[in-house]
Each structure stands twice: as structure tokens, then as C-alpha cells.
Symmetry: C2
């Protein structure tokens, strides 16, 4: 049972519409609220050697990234922290507050509890113009698909490429990029935290169209051999770039450098260089049980 | 180091104003958003024998209770669930959804992860009229203090009084009461999840005035001897009643039955029958470390 199967199993309880996006959307007068929550555990989500400050930074960053994926302006993050050692709280909150100061929103408080394994749940809200939150659904055949930057840095750091350590440990949520992309008329968007290919499969689930990737157009990071760099870009987790689709006629006026990596197709499938590509990437699994 | 000391230690990082209430408050046009998060663990927060459905219900109830304490109308709850056994998710989400259906808001999605010990973080948002969220601060000398119902039921159930088991396992958040109290002009409010006396000390921290309790006016539950019933009312945890203060001239027109249990005084202290009462109740502690 993987995480995505699990989520499908509760869709009928709370409604499919509430399970497909990075955030829920709540109308509020002349704005929409987007609302997200993310759970992180020390052993599975925080690479070894992270400082408490970096753990706090990353906890805020994952939630700001969810808000960014909807094109939202972050307003506030709350932290629920299960602490193994209570003195760690100060560093964690300090890192989260620094990430908000840099990228948007404020840390508005939270809850604490004792836990054998450090557990941080970051919940955040942001705002968009009414009806303008960008969803995973909305891709249209003929659109271009794009990403905001080269992928694979975080995974490369895990394999020992020290020049990418900061990308892994202090990831930058693409908040300003998300807002610009939303204003540019993207038709669908999400963040790529579990890898490019698995993210395209997530998009597939929310859409009736499909996605065709052109490997020669995928930007690769410097350092690894090209074949390894492509593998990191396709399947590496831990990056915070945004994946979006946009009509061709709007693709030239986004205002920030982006990389167009493929097209939206009419067939409900994910293709790489016109061939099938397996759904693979970083996933929480419960197979051992 | 207790939970409240820990929270004080991060106040200087994120600002004192953000640490004193059950919810943070964010202006949003013609409304204010109130925003809260609560972390619950199986071993410390869920009494043994609870069903997954009841665990979900309680997780939603604690957050709805925080929203109720601000006088807010609940809009949405998100659940972050660290699962020991993935199949538990369905029951948990079902219980949370039922609590929202009954008391307000909807379950709008969430996040899941694997965890050795079941961990549920419930985050919620609700709305109040602008500037009308009720805070812990705002008590004024001369106000009456009141509660929405007899206290001690949950703790009584833990001591073996089976007639109160449902109060313990399926607690009812006082959402409609909170909204009525806010509309009636209460000056301060909070929910009493950790016991009456410790809650009055929490109010004390947010105010420059003090609180004087009259034990004869505290409503007692049926079952235990009066002395034990008073102890349960003063120090028992797990109840979901609201504690509020209100000017005397408004106290007669609340529209629901409430119990006035004392007065707000000019001295910065908590008194029981004119004598000092120690700050005691349910608290997470990290003393063992």
C-alpha cells in the first residue's frame, strides 16, 4: 500500500475534489484562502546531520511550496512539533520563521507535545484572487509543460555531491515563481517534491489528457555524468521546483526563466521520448506491514 | 520543563501575541480568519480502547473547540496523520468528518506518513466578523466568570464512572455556545481542555487582572462524593466546556444555560473561596529528561 493508494481509499469519505491538490481552497469574500498541511518525521524526512534550524526551515519550506504551487501569497504557518528533546523547539521555530521572513508569511504559533521521534507538522494558509488558485487539473492538449529549474540537486547531495547540500538542507520554496506563473496564465501546476515522473503521474490522475516529455529538453545539473543526471532529474526527490502547463501563446511572457520540457497530449498516459515511462519516484510505502 | 514554559521560550522568536490564544487571527477583507493546530498521540492523548472513528472524532473536536473558544464559525479542518497501520486512516477520517458534519466545517484533506506511534495533527480555520474574535485577554475587573457546563466528566470516566465514557471518548466541541457567547459580549474566553484551575492561570497570563472562584457556585457532576466531584471539576482534564468572562449587565441575556462561578478581580492572582489555589491540572511534562 503506497501513500497515493491510501489517499484514494479515503477519497470517498471526504470527496475526490479535496484530495487532488497541494492545498484545499476556501472562498473568503474578495479572496480565496488556500490551506495546506505537511507532516515530517526525523528519520524519514530530514537528512542526517541537519541542524534544528534547518529542520525548521525545511518544515516551513514544504508548506510554502504547497502554497506556491497554487499561485498563492503565503499568509501564515502554524507548527505542531512532537519533541524528543524540548530544547530543540527554539531552533526549529527560528528556522521556520527565517524561511517565512525570506519567502512569505509569518509563523503564527502552534502546538507542542512530547514524542520519541521528532515530528513536525507545518500547516499554512495563503491567498489568491477569487477563483484563481491554480490546480493540478486544467492541463489542455497542446499546452507546453515546464519546470522552474534543473532537477536532481537534492538527490545528488544525498549521493555525495556536496555542492548541492544547501539545495537539500535549506530548500527554497518557489513562492515568487508560483505567483508569477499563476499571473501568466498557467493551466495547471504542482510542486515536484517526489520527483518529476511521479509528479507527472499525479497530474495525470487529476486530468483526462496526458504528458509527453522530451528528455533532450530537460535541464540537467552539473557534476554527474549525463545519464546519471537525467536519472536524478526524472526520479530524484527533495527538489522544490514547480511543474506547470501553459498555452503556447502565453509561454513567451512569463517574466522568469523557465524550462519547457514537453507537451500535453490527448492520450491519458505519460511518455518519455515517445515511449512509456514507469511511475517511479520517492514514495512513502507501508509494504513491510 | 512544562509545555507552558516551553511556549514562553519561543515567544521572543515569534512574538508574544501569537502564543496566548487558542487560535491565530488573520484579517481577510470583511471577515477575520482564525487558525489553529493541535497534535495528538496515541499513548498520551487517546484513552485506551478508543476506536479509530473515535480517535478521528476527538482529533477534529479539539480543533473545533479551539475555534469555538474564539467565537468562530468553523470552515475546514485538515488532518496530518502518522499511521502505524495504514488501514486505520479510513476510520480516523470518517470520525473526523462526522464530528465536522455535526458541529461545523468540513474535512478538506491532509497528509499521511508512516509512524511507529499513531499521531494525528488536526489544523482548522474558521471565521469571525472583523475584529470580533474573542481572545484570552480582555477580562475586566467586575466581570463575572462563567462556564458552559459541569466539569470533570472526562476525568470521572477515566476513574471508572462509565456513565461519562461518551464525554471522554466522543467529546462535543461547544461551537454553537462559543458563537452565542461571542455575540453576547463576552470579554475573554478559552476552552478548558486541561482543567479549570490551570485554565484560569492561562487566562491570568494573558490579562493584568485576576480571578476569584466561589466553589459553591461550581456545578458538580452526579456520581462521585461532593469533595471528589469538586476535585474533578477543578483539576480534571479532557472536558470541552468554555470558560469566559462577561460584564454583569450582559450576563442575563446569553440565551443558553451557563454557570457563573466567580468574578474578575483587580489583583493578579487566582483565588478559590478567597484563598490561594495552586496552578495544577493536566500538563505535558518533559521532567524525565
Amino acid at each position: 500500500l503506497d501513500e497515493r493508494s491510501l489517499i484514494r481509499s479515503v477519497m470517498e469519505v471526504i470527496g475526490r475534489e479535496n484530495c487532488l491538490d497541494d492545498c484545499a481552497v476556501i472562498p473568503c469574500g474578495d479572496r480565496d484562502i488556500v490551506f495546506s498541511t505537511d507532516m515530517l518525521h526525523e528519520t524519514t524526512d530530514f537528512p542526517g546531520g541537519m541542524s534544528d534550524w534547518q529542520i525548521g526551515w525545511m518544515s516551513a519550506a514544504v508548506t510554502l511550496s504547497d502554497l506556491a504551487a497554487m499561485g498563492a501569497d503565503p499568509a501564515m504557518i502554524l507548527l505542531a512539533v512532537g519533541l524528543d528533546v524540548p530544547e530543540r523547539l527554539r531552533g526549529i521555530v527560528g528556522g521556520a520563521a527565517a524561511c517565512c521572513t525570506r519567502h512569505g508569511g509569518v509563523v503564527g504559533g502552534g502546538d507542542t507535545d512530547h514524542h520519541n521521534e521528532l515530528t513536525v507538522v507545518s500547516s499554512g494558509i495563503g491567498f489568491t484572487a477569487p477563483g484563481r488558485a491554480v490546480r493540478r487539473s486544467g492541463s489542455r492538449p497542446g499546452d507546453l509543460s515546464g519546470i522552474t529549474g534543473p532537477l536532481g540537486r537534492a538527490e545528488a547531495a544525498l549521493t555525495g555531491l556536496h555542492q548541492y547540500e544547501r539545495d537539500l538542507l535549506e530548500p527554497r520554496p518557489r513562492v515568487s515563481e508560483g505567483k508569477l506563473l499563476a499571473a501568466s496564465g498557467v493551466t495547471s501546476m504542482m510542486d515536484i517534491s517526489d520527483g518529476l515522473v511521479i509528479s507527472l503521474y499525479d497530474m495525470l490522475e487529476a486530468n483526462s489528457c496526458g504528458y509527453s516529455l522530451d528528455s533532450e529538453r530537460i535541464p540537467l545539473i552539473a557534476g554527474p555524468e549525463p545519464e546519471e543526471a537525467l536519472r536524478l532529474a526524472l526520479y530524484g526527490g527533495g527538489d522544490f521546483e514547480l511543474l506547470f502547463t501553459i498555452p503556447k501563446e502565453k509561454a513567451g511572457a512569463i517574466g522568469i526563466p523557465v524550462f519547457f520540457i514537453g507537451t500535453v497530449t490527448g492520450e491519458h498516459e505519460v511518455l518519455l521520448d515517445a515511449g512509456a515511462v514507469k511511475r517511479k519516484g520517492y514514495e512513502h510505502r507501508w509494504d513491510e506491514m
